[in-house]
């Protein structure tokens, strides 16, 4: 397996500038500011075909290409470090262990996009990731790698950390920008695209932390080397966060196309040696797959899409046999209801309805028509809302209903769970 990000053993000091430089760190930035033109960098990133690692898998090069160079206005770059999608904890690995890889990559991106001020929008609860990145910024600034006249060139750029304050929707790219403007994190209607009018109405690129962290390697080794890893349609690697009912949860870097079955083995298999009931492959907003469905799959964007789901944020939640899917959906719907920002009627009202119906079923007061109601409300958001939150809740709901409908029917008919309302693996808790 190839490692593009988790390339070194983690030690007490591996996150420091000295350690990063001993691994060849900042040599690529130096070559970029000395020898390359901004458009050369973007061309390499486009040729590499790196897709967004935040959830939507949009090609980064295509996003960058919208930015018009020398148009006389400021441009901004924002790294999305909100890491809010439940089940996802991989950007944190980068922030804690490879903060300079993110910074070097952001500086290279900023050079390509003619950005003077770049931001890292970080979820408010992160503490160690914040301290590690803040000290990396101090180190880089003191070493002349950031700030004015970087490495003696004419390129100036500062990276600032902007900390959120507890809101899931602020991970959505436009809400993230509204939040950096110091306001309520309301998502914005598009068009205009953020690359046309983003932060303070200026052209802005928002990329996930992991997406950006690939940039240094792509520019250093070339697009062909990046494309040599992964599959033709999903080049490179991905950091997958594995959690739930596995023996060894954690972050794994896999070549795109890696077999799910091997990944499950790498994680020590399902807890208590139980059978695999289901997997949510890309954060809770991706559609659930049954154990039988995911077992033979290769983990890449096209295979997951063909199976009716997605690799999303790479937040893989493993669910053992014996888990109650009705209660699991209840946990999700409470969350989406809580996090809806309330701007769009179908989302604001729909999240409340979904949440109330699932609570009613769990209270033993469900009616047979509730299942159809859940379906109908789930579909109501489709394309009618400002951001993807309402849709995501809809996918999660219809995904679970499609695969586990008998559990809902059982609860409605018998006024109790077929699995005792169980969410944990008893023996291990």
């Amino acid at each position: 397996m190839t490692k593009l990000i988790m390339t070194f053993p983690v030690t007490e000091t591996s996150h420091t500038l000295a350690s990063y430089r001993s691994r060849g760190g900042y040599a690529t930035l130096e070559r970029v500011v000395r020898e390359m033109r901004p458009e050369d960098v973007t061309r390499e990133v486009t040729a590499a075909g790196v897709q967004g690692r935040g959830g939507a898998a949009f090609p980064a090069g295509r996003k960058w290409s919208v930015i018009k160079l020398n148009d006389g206005q400021p441009h901004y770059l924002c790294a999305n470090a909100d890491e809010g999608e439940p089940g996802t904890f991989k950007d944190r690995w980068i922030l804690e262990n490879a903060p300079h890889l993110l910074l070097e990559s952001m500086l290279i991106a900023a050079y390509a996009l003619q950005v003077r001020h770049a931001f890292v929008y970080m979820r408010g609860e992160f503490d160690l990731p914040y301290r590690r990145l803040a000290s990396a910024i101090d180190e880089a600034t003191a070493a002349g790698l950031m700030g004015e006249r970087i490495l003696g060139s004419a390129f100036d750029c500062d990276v600032l950390i902007y900390r959120g304050a507890g809101s899931y929707v602020c991970g959505e790219a436009s809400a993230l920008l509204t939040s950096i403007e110091g306001k309520r994190g309301y998502p914005r209607n598009r068009p205009p695209r953020l690359t046309v009018r983003g932060l303070y109405q200026r052209p802005t690129v928002v990329n996930n932390v992991e997406t950006l962290s690939n940039i240094t390697g792509i520019v250093r080794d070339g697009a062909a080397a990046f494309r040599a890893v992964g599959t033709a349609d999903s080049p490179g690697t991905r950091l997958v966060s594995v959690s739930g009912h596995v023996n060894r949860p954690g972050v794994h870097e896999i070549d795109l196309g890696y077999a799910f079955e091997r990944l499950l083995d790498d994680c020590g298999g399902v807890l208590d040696g139980r059978a695999l009931k289901a997997v949510i492959p890309g954060g809770i907003s991706s559609k659930v797959l049954t154990g039988d469905e995911i077992m033979p799959l290769a983990l890449d964007h096209e295979s997951l899409a063909a199976a009716g789901s997605s690799l999303g944020s790479g937040g893989m939640i493993v669910i053992a046999e014996g888990t109650c899917m009705v209660r699991l959906l209840q946990v999700m719907l409470r969350f989406y209801h809580h996090e809806s920002c309330g701007q769009c009627t179908p989302c604001r009202e729909g999240m409340g309805w979904l949440h109330r119906i699932i609570d009613r079923i769990v209270a033993g007061e469900g009616r047979p028509e509730d299942i159809d109601r859940l379906y109908r409300i789930s579909a109501a958001n489709d394309g009618t809302t400002i951001c993807g939150l309402g849709d995501a809740a809809g996918y999660a709901t219809s995904g679970i209903l499609n695969k586990f409908r008998p559990e809902f029917e059982y609860w409605i008919e018998h006024k109790r769970s077929r699995f005792d309302g169980n969410l944990v693996c008893r023996a291990s808790s």
Binding site: H117, S167, V424
Partner: protein
Amino acid sequence: MSASPTFASLVPEFDALRRRFPPGFESSLVLPCLRRLQEAWGHVEDSDIAALAEYLAVPRVQIEEALSFYGQLRREPVGRWHVEVCRNVSCSLRGAETLLERLSSKLGLAPGDTSADGRFTLSTCECLGSCGTAPVVLVNGVYHENASAPEIERMIEGLERA
């Protein structure tokens, strides 16, 4: 309205923050300043909202809206020890619900409540980006990962004596 002593003492930090941001980004300073005020004082006081609006020359309503939108910001004090249990999917699969029940009975508090002596607040929170070490409990913002009920209960007994 005059600013609290907390606000006054933080003005030099706010000035430094202002210099780091690009010109014209005053509005952006609302969140970091509110976070800093809360960190220093435990919550955000009404008088400081007015002082911040004046200091940044932003509308007061923007600050009030931010305070009501962001889950981590608060206008009321919480207990000296703020215990928050993540109840999202991965933590629930690893026993967060039982953990919450046990903490609730240990502290004699329903989630959302503060003890009469002002020492403890028990809350729930959403995914903390730490699902691989679920369940996760925050105590005054510090992550306690792979939290087991006996271990967290022992810690609370320690805090009760502190």
